[in-house]
């Protein structure tokens, strides 16, 4: 299994931020078996970093490794989507989700 470098951007200590941190840690522990590094960045403390990384929404997970880079937006409560974003899901589910997103289904 390849090594995962994940950066989680949040804004302040809100319930949503905490939820995102917990969800990501749980999924990683279950699926990545220690093969990961996770950084939590508070945009309020590092606004310039958010600018440089072009973070638009919070929470946002940026999967920097392995390539390709990918972003997952939200409190990560939909575990299937997170797995999809981390390339741990089947192709079938991916194409299914892509279609739903194009149709403009409210995923929030």
């Amino acid at each position: 299994m390849s090594f995962y470098l994940l950066k989680l951007y949040v804004t302040g200590q809100t319930p949503r931020s905490r939820r995102a941190i917990e969800n990501l840690r749980r999924i990683c522990d279950e699926e990545l078996r220690g093969q990961y590094e996770m950084h939590v960045i508070d945009v309020l403390d590092r606004p310039q970093l958010a600018e440089d990384e072009k973070i638009l929404a919070t929470p946002t997970v940026v999967k920097e490794l392995p390539m390709p880079m990918r972003r997952i937006i939200g409190d990560l409560s939909d575990a299937d989507k997170v797995l999809l974003g981390l390339d741990l899901q089947s192709c079938q589910l991916r194409s299914d989700t892509a279609t739903r997103k194009e149709e403009g289904v409210d995923l929030a």
């Binding site: 804004t11 945009v43 600018e51 072009k54 997952i72 937006i73 974003g85 995923l107």
Partner: protein, 523 residues
């Protein structure tokens, strides 16, 4: 209460966009957001950048939030307007907040999110630069990235509210799908409701016509309706505020020589210093000749003269002038004359107007001749042409410059031109040149149809053209219907009889009223 008093109700921030502050009665409502909506290619991004560029010129810093184009693309595209964005960024006067989509990076949504990161970045940029102005271009881009969801709408509403708290004056651009229809795509006006401006780029009779309209400024007055504008390479967006032009021109009794002494006599001693003269005639009646004489007369009196030619090339004009004994080349060398030759098709009328104003401002002439104004008709709709004519005339009158415009009438005999129909009321003097058919021969006639503030001769006089120019002779006596083009020749004896009749009458009246010398009139 007049609008002059109301103007103070909501403070305005001057945009610096030429002409816009006139129709906005001072600019954009200060400390508020204004929605700038327009179809694709309606110059929204240019306006948004210009708002910041003009701010920087006035010592106010700005933040540009881009949702669609990358900062690199904007920096490059705005180079053409001489806006050096990289230099301003280096000086801390301009900051980008880059929200443009990043290609190659797929985004997946899992659960609830907010746009706090964007808000933090905007606040950070405002704090860093001390910005008073902000442009967000274009808000629709965020829907393209995140989908048209309730979350995005709520979050954008929150951001717009936050902008108000920050005290920045902002322009938010939005796409619209048609020129006349809903204000913007995604209903962005629903959360930026205070102020709305619409840019249009409509197609009328195969010609593009750009207009700007202030739809509303909440609690603040503004001019209503559509105003033409153009995107000029040197200035960016330039609005032409026609009805906002005030009639403040001064008036003078000073006369100037037209260059044709007989014509001066017909006008009661020459044209007025600050008047606009319309010279109308069919092709070949001598309009260019009168124009040439007008210019030559001006240069002789030591005035600076400017000639805009839209029909003939420089070489043709100079050759014609030489044929009438006028040396344009020498006049240009001395510096009293500037001849600008341009094909009407090189730009829209708005472009021409701005270019012509620039030349007038630079050369500072005392006389301006345009040969011919009707040539410009063919590149525009009737509406645009009327606006152009009014814009140009008021500009020239404002400068206290004498103007001579020529208009070509469509038919050889009689008739009038579209040009005349649209600008005859704003000109002070109208001179007609007409062909007169007499016993199988074409002669030329000239008459002064109107002259504001002066008596003038009412006769239609014959004139000839030779190597020295124009020579005005006797009035046509035994022919009528010249202006309509339906000539009626009257035998000499009938003309004499008519004259006798009126003479007797005049004598009779004079005798009854006992006016000395009145009976001598007409002898």
């Amino acid at each position: 209460m007049t609008w002059h008093n109301q103007r103070t109700a909501v403070a305005k921030l001057a945009t610096g966009v030429p002409g816009f502050d006139l129709i906005g009665y001072g600019g954009l409502p200060e400390g508020r957001s204004t929605l700038l909506s327009g179809t694709s290619g309606s110059a929204k991004t240019v306006f948004a950048c210009q708002f910041l560029a003009e701010g920087i010129r006035r010592g106010q810093t700005g933040v540009f939030v881009t949702f669609e184009e990358s900062p690199e693309a904007i920096r490059k595209n705005m180079e053409g307007f001489n806006w050096n964005i990289p230099a301003w960024e280096a000086e801390g006067k301009w900051a980008f907040v880059d929200v443009s989509p990043h290609p190659g990076q797929e985004t997946i949504v899992s659960g609830n999110y907010d746009l706090n990161a964007l808000l933090v970045r905007i606040e950070n940029a405002v704090r860093k630069t001390g910005a008073r102005r902000m442009s967000l271009d274009s808000l629709g881009g965020i829907f393209a990235q995140l989908g048209d969801s309730g979350t995005v709408r709520n979050e954008l509403f929150r951001i717009v509210s936050a902008l108000k708290k920050m005290g920045v004056t902002s322009i938010i651009t939005a796409e619209r799908t048609e020129e006349y229809g809903q204000v913007s795509r995604y209903g962005i006006e629903e959360f930026v409701t205070d102020n709305v401006i619409i840019l249009r780029n409509g197609l009328e009779q195969e010609k593009r016509r750009r207009t700007i309209e202030i739809l509303k400024f909440r609690g603040a007055p503004h001019q209503k309706g559509e105003y033409p504008f153009t995107v000029s390479p040197n200035q960016g967006v330039v609005v032409i505020p026609l009805s906002a032009i005030e009639l403040t021109q001064k008036s003078t009794d000073m006369r100037i020589r037209s260059g044709v002494p007989e014509l001066d006599r017909m006008c009661g001693g020459g044209f007025f210093r600050d008047s606009i003269v319309l010279l109308s005639g069919a092709t070949g009646t001598g309009k260019t000749l009168v124009t040439t004489s007008f210019i030559a007369g001006g240069v002789e009196s030591g005035e600076r003269c400017l000639l805009f030619a839209f029909e003939e090339s420089r070489d043709q004009l100079f050759r014609n002038a030489t044929g009438w004994g006028v040396d344009f080349e020498k006049m240009e060398e001395v510096g009293n004359l500037k001849v600008v030759c341009e094909y009407p098709e090189t730009g829209s009328l708005e472009d021409h107007l701005i270019a012509m104003k620039a030349v007038v401002d630079e050369f500072k002439p005392q006389r301006i001749a345009i040969d011919s104004l009707s040539a410009l008709e063919r590149v525009a709709t009737v509406k645009s042409f009327r606006e152009f004519a009014i814009g140009l005339t008021s500009y020239i009158k404002d400068k206290n410059v004498a103007g001579l415009f020529t208009a070509t009438s469509s038919s050889l005999l009689g008739g009038s031109s579209v040009t005349e129909t649209h600008i005859s009321t704003i000109t002070d003097t109208i001179i007609l040149l007409r062909y007169v058919e007499m016993h199988g021969e074409m002669r030329r006639g000239v008459t002064v149809l109107k002259m504001r503030g002066s008596t003038h001769e009412k006769n239609i006089r014959e004139f000839t053209i030779d190597g020295n120019g124009m020579h005005v002779g006797k009035p046509f006596r035994n022919i009528s219907g010249i202006l309509s083009g339906h000539f009626i020749h009257r035998p000499q004896d009938e003309m004499d009889r008519l004259r006798e009749m009126f003479k007797e009458d005049a004598d009779g009246v004079a005798q009854t009223l006992n006016i000395p010398g009145a009976g001598d009139r007409g002898r």
